[in-house]
């Protein structure tokens, strides 16, 4: 066993970095989704409310309250500041921080300070009497905080193994979240694929793009005329847009290849799964995908993504001692 100073990383540490990153991505995603939804709600008639809420809860995989109450205040609280909901923004930020706290000697102090500050900010909103008075400010702050953390991470942490686990966590989470969003949307809003959407419906499609932070980027590529086929293509297959599924899968594959090289382990399984997924997205055509249904396609992506997650776990985080001693 020779001295491989650069590449020593405890399995527990890798696990924590991975989950820290996933939780933070989840918090950012949730904040953006609610933010977009609240904006959209302003343009709707008040009675459309409860159905929208159910859709949002579903998109975030949060079970609806048992008492069936669907008023805005209760639900916003449930999704943002409710500690008993493990998917609420505060729970995700707290979990991200707790994970980073357990490995804080692995990250730069700037990273820790940034995440800690975000947590304290969310916490102080939660404990203030006023609560979510200015929700727009709050969701903005969470997204900014997460972006800032990514920027600080990229510019202060060395882009070694640990950084790759952070990348991995972020993009695994993102792939799953964006794929889920697309599937649910195409289910809910059937529309002729190659016709521009109009009027009331238009706003729904804008909201989908905005939920993936993609509206401006889409407009640049295809103008503000929205066609479902193009939207699907943009969100699924665009190689350059950071919230598209293909972009995310490319990152997952890159991170796994780098890790496998750094650890000098024959870690075929995760790289193979990510490579296959990457090939699927690189060589698929949008009309083929839509012909067999967007849902089937995103379900298969999500399933492969979870397979990759399991394989990463088994090879790097929780391997058996016997297998390691033989190696």
């Amino acid at each position: 066993m020779n001295d491989r100073r650069e590449t020593t990383m405890l399995s527990r540490v890798a696990d924590s970095l991975y989950w820290m990153s996933r939780y933070l991505e989840r918090a950012e995603h949730t904040a953006r989704l609610i933010d977009v939804d609240l904006q959209l709600r302003l343009d709707h008639s008040p009675d459309a409310g409860s159905e929208r809420w159910l859709g949002l809860l579903q998109a975030l995989q949060v079970p609806a309250p048992e008492d069936g109450s669907l008023d805005a205040e209760t639900l916003t609280h449930l999704l943002t500041l409710d500690r008993t909901n493990p998917s609420s923004i505060i729970s995700c930020v707290a979990a991200a921080r707790e994970n980073l706290r357990q490995v804080r000697e692995q990250c730069s102090s700037d990273m820790w300070e940034q995440l800690n500050r975000l947590f304290l900010q969310v916490k102080s909103t939660a404990s203030s009497e006023a609560g979510l008075l200015d929700s727009y400010q709050f969701f903005r702050a969470v997204q900014d905080g997460a972006h800032l953390f990514q920027g600080v991470t990229d510019s202060t942490m060395s882009h070694g193994e640990g950084w790759h686990y952070i990348q991995l966590g972020r993009f695994v989470e993102r792939t799953d979240a964006v794929a889920r969003l697309i599937g649910a949307h195409f289910n809910r809003s059937p529309h002729p694929l190659d016709q521009a959407v109009e009027s009331e419906e238009y706003l729904e499609w804008v909201a989908l793009l905005k939920s993936c932070a993609a509206f401006q980027a889409y407009c640049k590529a295809h103008t503000a005329e929205l066609r479902p086929l193009r939207v699907a293509e943009f969100l699924l297959l665009n190689p350059g847009f950071p919230h598209s599924v293909r972009f995310s899968v490319d990152r997952i594959h890159a991170a796994l290849s780098a890790i496998s090289e750094l650890t000098e382990r024959k870690a075929g399984q995760p790289v193979r799964i990510a490579g296959r997924l990457r090939a699927t997205l690189s060589f698929s055509q949008i009309d083929e995908i839509m012909a067999s249904g967007a849902n089937a396609f995103v379900d298969s992506i999500r399933w492969q993504c979870s397979q990759a997650h399991t394989a990463i776990h088994q090879i790097y985080f929780d391997y058996s001692v016997e297998s390691a001693l033989v190696a």
Binding site: N2, L10, S11, A14, R104, L120, L262, T263
Partner: protein, 466 residues
């Protein structure tokens, strides 16, 4: 700080003048900035037995405590002497036990100590160094001399606060700091690493650079911040028990690249929890099989197992004799007078004067299990009277010391508070004493207890160059 009311001791004059010149608003702002920086850096400790907000910022006081060069020289020599003698003592009692046979320290005292580990009998450890890292608590007596209050030979903590305080003070008083000529402390982490490496098992250096890790009980431990801080400063892995495993008496850590051999463990886990196969069986903090690997000489531990016997508060009373016995020198630093409660006449005296004395449980630390006579209620004294009579070996008593006081910036003004001093001694290939230490402050007015768990805080300690 003052030699007479209103007249500061010479080395405090410049600080005093600066304070007088500063508008209080300035100082308050600096204190706020410092507090915020501690909060954002997450320099916190955990308070046990308190479920709400268990993570607290360690209060830091801006005004430095200043120690002139000559006073420090004596402290340095005194501590080096003390640690050398205590190491010889530990080696002796875990081998032939000459000091016990010669009747200098009573056998019963050593063998009845809760921290005596019979598993260590006859075991030869790297360099024969039992205590590599030591934090000794000193107090300044009314006559101006320093005396030893307690030796912490197991897992002393607090050194990270010494380093963090220094970092903050340099930002707050840059000019004052430069003009004072303060000895640096920032090389502590590097000295610690060298000390730990010196403990690596023979043969490991031929294989590769020794791999040193810091073993922490985990994120819920009160000193967790310190563990992460030191690991980061030294550039070593911070591990938990579950990250390590023992196979064929070799210790490995579980990394993403497979298992990697570990040579030295700086363990911040108590003896009891180190190895469930050997010590406490239900411990999940330790590593099964670690003691066997240690016994086989395949891994170094700092500090060694069983050092607690030498910082037992009853053994403490014998340290002056221990120094004379092994080194044939007089102790440079005095002990605080200590009453042994196993002795009939001393016990009677103590029981009659409980309201004037401090009583301590011999195996406790962190300010737990203490009675401070003058500040106690009749009920508490009665409680301790019963406990002493039930288990006299378990307690000692000392006179209530008038700890020296230092100015602290509290409630917008400088107020005097009781302080002690904990310097950190490293003993590997050489003895290293970083000039400075942790000055702990009893922030509650009139309080004599400086432990962080009991409402204490800390301040930077400036040892002057000349």
């Amino acid at each position: 700080m003052f030699e007479a009311p209103g007249i500061p001791r010479p080395h405090y004059r410049a600080l005093f003048q600066t304070l007088l010149d500063l508008p209080p608003e300035e100082l308050r702002k600096s204190q706020q900035a410092a507090d915020l920086s501690f909060l954002h850096q997450g320099i916190t400790f955990t308070v046990y037995g308190n479920s709400e907000g268990t993570e607290r910022v360690f209060p830091n006081d801006l005004l430095p405590r200043i120690i002139p060069h000559a006073e420090w020289g004596k402290i340095e020599r005194g501590l080096a002497q003390r640690i050398a003698a205590l190491n010889l003592f530990l080696e002796d009692i875990y081998h032939s036990g000459k000091i016990l046979a010669d009747g200098v320290v009573p056998k019963e005292l050593v063998y009845s100590c809760r921290h005596f580990r019979r598993e260590m009998r006859g075991l030869n450890i790297p360099r024969g160094i039992y205590v590599s890292i030591c934090g000794t608590d000193l107090v300044r007596l009314p006559d101006g001399s320093f005396a030893v209050l307690e030796d912490n030979l197991r897992v002393p903590s607090g050194v990270s606060y010494m380093l963090a305080n220094r970092k903050v003070l340099k930002k707050v008083f840059p000019t004052l700091f430069r003009d004072y000529g303060v000895c640096p402390v920032d090389h502590y982490a590097q000295a610690l690493l060298a000390t730990l490496r010196a403990l690596s098992p023979p043969g490991s250096s031929a294989r590769h650079e020794p791999t040193v890790v810091l073993l922490t009980p985990g994120v819920f431990n009160s000193a967790y911040f310190e563990h992460t801080f030191l690991a980061q400063q030294m550039g070593i892995e911070l591990v938990e028990g579950r990250d390590l495993l023992v196979h064929d008496n070799l210790v490995y850590m579980r990394t993403t690249a497979g298992l990697r051999r570990v040579d030295v463990i700086y363990r911040r886990v108590d003896d009891d929890f180190l190895d469930p196969l050997c010590f406490q069986r239900d411990s999940s903090l330790g590593v099964p099989g670690l003691f066997n690997a240690y016994r086989a000489g395949n891994v170094g531990l700092a500090n060694a197992i069983g050092t607690g016997v030498a910082d037992d508060k009853a053994v403490y009373a014998y340290v002056p004799q221990i120094i004379r016995y092994y080194l044939a020198e007089d102790p440079i630093l005095a002990n605080v007078p200590t009453y042994m409660l196993t002795d009939q006449s001393q016990r009677n005296y103590v029981l009659e004067h409980l309201d004037q004395l401090v009583v301590k449980a011999v195996g406790e630390s962190g300010g737990y299990g203490m009675l401070i006579g003058p500040q106690s209620t009749a009920e508490q004294r009665e409680d301790f009277r019963r406990r002493i009579q039930a288990e006299p070996r378990n307690y000692i008593a000392q006179p209530t010391l008038s700890l020296s006081r230092a100015p602290c910036f509290l409630e917008g003004e400088a107020q005097a508070r009781h302080v002690d001093l904990r310097p950190y001694i490293l003993y590997g290939e050489n003895m290293t004493l970083v000039p400075g230490g942790l000055t702990r402050v009893a922030l509650r007015r009139g309080s004599l207890v400086v432990n962080s768990s009991q409402g204490g805080g800390s301040k930077d300690t400036w040892v002057l160059r000349a």
